[in-house]
């Protein structure tokens, strides 16, 4: 995927404002070391291998893919929780990969994260008030009595009773804990939130509550989301545009409805057909594409098209030589241009 690709994404421009986040050629490799006394690098885990996309102000970009495809690493690399190996992350006109120390911390206020596991992402020894106030203290916002007011405001906004402020995480259910995590992210008035599988640990009826809350907050506070999840039905529900990732690459990027109605890449089609629809009558007639095998190891990804090893046309496939790049086949609809994967 070239660095030029996916810089403009057509039709979504009308609905949303200017570009808030621009990721170009992002690579995140983790070294694998070996040796008893001297740790020598023997290989790289290519978690994210050259991806580019833009996120507009006020929009939700969904990032889907299976475990190990690099979705979470992408989110963390954008927030500079991992320093990218290569590539640029431009947030509202500032290049984040060049920032450090206090300069980076100032931007961290504007970019927050909501984590997957509401049980391990809250400190069990801190009360709700302490959890939500800590980011305010770090960034020196809302001092004194104002902080108390801010706390009540945030708790109300995420649908928790302000009298719960003195309680500890173990006193809450999973859904309520996730609300605390959302409150913590929201407290510092961010512009951009990376939601890393925020509902996958929750039960169905609680999942719906949290999804609705995220949508309400987006409207109320003018938030921009990068929504990472493996459940395509949830991602499709909440996202304006969706990027499908496979083994560190984006294979397809389009508006949510377009991606569902007109999927082009073989992996996207398989992923969509693998998700059963909760309707027995629809399911009776639905065709399924069952992919063979497992996702290859990112330690040693296939050369050329990364989907090659699971492609149904792999016998005639000649795509081992060229690395596919994202190509705009229709305004706003980008596909990795592997010839095999693009034909049905």
């Amino acid at each position: 995927m070239t660095t030029e690709s996916a810089t403009t994404q057509g039709s979504s421009e009308a609905k949303f404002g200017e570009t808030l986040l621009s990721v170009k050629g992002l690579r995140m490799y983790f070294p694998v070391t070996s040796g008893l006394f001297v740790q020598r690098k023997v290989a790289d885990v290519r978690a994210v291998d050259g991806i580019s996309f833009d996120v507009k102000k006020g929009e939700t970009l969904g990032l889907v893919g299976e475990s190990g495809c690099g979705k979470s690493t992408t989110g963390r690399a954008i927030l500079q929780l991992h320093r990218p190996t290569e590539g640029t992350v431009n947030f509202d006109g500032t290049e984040l990969t060049e920032l450090k120390g206090a300069g980076l911390r100032r931007f961290r206020r504007r970019m927050q994260m909501i984590f997957q596991d509401p049980f391990s992402s809250l400190n069990p020894r801190m009360s709700v008030a302490q959890i939500i106030s800590e980011p305010l203290a770090i960034h020196g916002l809302y001092k004194g009595a104002e902080r108390r007011e801010r706390l009540d405001y945030i708790l109300n906004a995420v649908g928790l009773n302000p009298t719960y402020a003195r309680r500890y995480p173990h006193e809450f259910s999973g859904g309520q804990r996730q609300r605390i995590g959302i409150g913590r992210a929201l407290a510092v008035e961010p512009d951009f939130i990376v939601c890393d599988e925020p509902v996958s640990a929750l039960d169905v009826s609680i999942q719906a509550q949290v999804i609705n809350l995220l949508e309400d907050l987006q409207e109320q506070f003018d938030l921009t989301y990068l929504f990472i999840a493996h459940d395509l039905s949830v991602v499709k529900h909440i996202s304006d545009r969706i990027a499908v990732m496979y083994l560190g690459h984006i294979v397809e990027l389009a508006e949510a409805e377009e991606l569902y109605l007109n999927p082009v890449h073989a992996y996207t089609r398989a992923l969509l057909s693998a998700i059963p629809i909760p309707d027995p009558i629809v399911e009776q007639t639905r065709d399924r594409i069952i992919l063979e095998g497992d996702v290859p190891s990112p330690l040693n990804p296939p050369k050329g098209c990364v989907f090659r090893t699971r492609c149904t046309k792999k016998d005639q496939c000649k795509c081992s030589d060229t690395v596919p790049v994202l190509e705009e086949i229709e305004p706003g609809h980008w596909v990795a241009n592997c010839q095999c994967c693009m034909t049905k």
Binding site: G175, D203, V204, A208, H230, K236, D294
Partner: protein
Amino acid sequence: MARLLEVEDLQTYFFTDEGTVRAVDGVSWGIEAGETLALVGESGCGKSVTAMSILRLIPNPPGRIVGGSITFDGLDLLNVSDAEMRAIRGNRIAMIFQEPMTSLNPVLTIGQQIREAIELHLGMNEDEATQKAIELLELVGIPEAEQRIQDYPHQFSGGMRQRVMIAMALSCDPKLLIADEPTTALDVTIQAQILEIMANLCSELGTAVLVITHNLGVVARYADRVNVMYAGQIVEMGTAVDIFKNPQHAYTRGLMASVPRLDDTEHTRLATIEGQPPLLIQEINGCAFRPRCTKVSGCHCSTTKENNPKLVEVEPGHWVADCPCCMTAD
């Protein structure tokens, strides 16, 4: 003709220091030979405890089956000896667990683990059992089965391990297979592979399947009939089409409406069920769904134990807990 498995008024309680947890509180249902029944509900509603009760795997203490009966193929499972129960487990009733990572023994090869049940239940010698193990692995789609039976579980991926679990479960040609969240830990494309293999093999062998899941999509695709559980009780039972197309209980309706569907064309707000499921440590009097019912203010349901809703048949084969509030649409 009697059904393959008949569960009658089953009550499984856990006696803890904090009090008695009524994990399963009086459920009655059955499975016909060869059919697929799904047990649906949120975490803590008693799905897994029901399955464990059938196999008598409830840890005692603190758990105990305090009432009811379970009849399998004419045999009263709650009154057979431990030795008889051991001869049934893994033989005529098999189970697949949720976690393919932890339910295989890491220090035994795959071959040894599959052979164990075959040698024990079918009385084969080692060579015959090895041959059978290889056949089974080929059946569930593991390439180079002959070499791979010498591998250890850590050399298999999650999806492959779950295939091994299916091979083990089906090794003795069981009449009933209990699959407790068989694919929750797996990725979607792998999930599709595994469910397809399981469904195909079971329909070939005529095995009845009790599948426990919270994924309504999986239920819609694979189940013939569905039991919806809430707070240790069944609130609705019926065919998959009844439950999805004509849900009668407020909880079932709420559950159906709260899942985003891939084929939704317009963006609509998800319906939610406000509040949390009740704590089972408190005795539930009256309708268990009462605190979350949208009509709670106008609800005249009785709150005494004697008037707990009972299942009534609203159309042939479609049973609903007869709480008048929950049964009326909004």
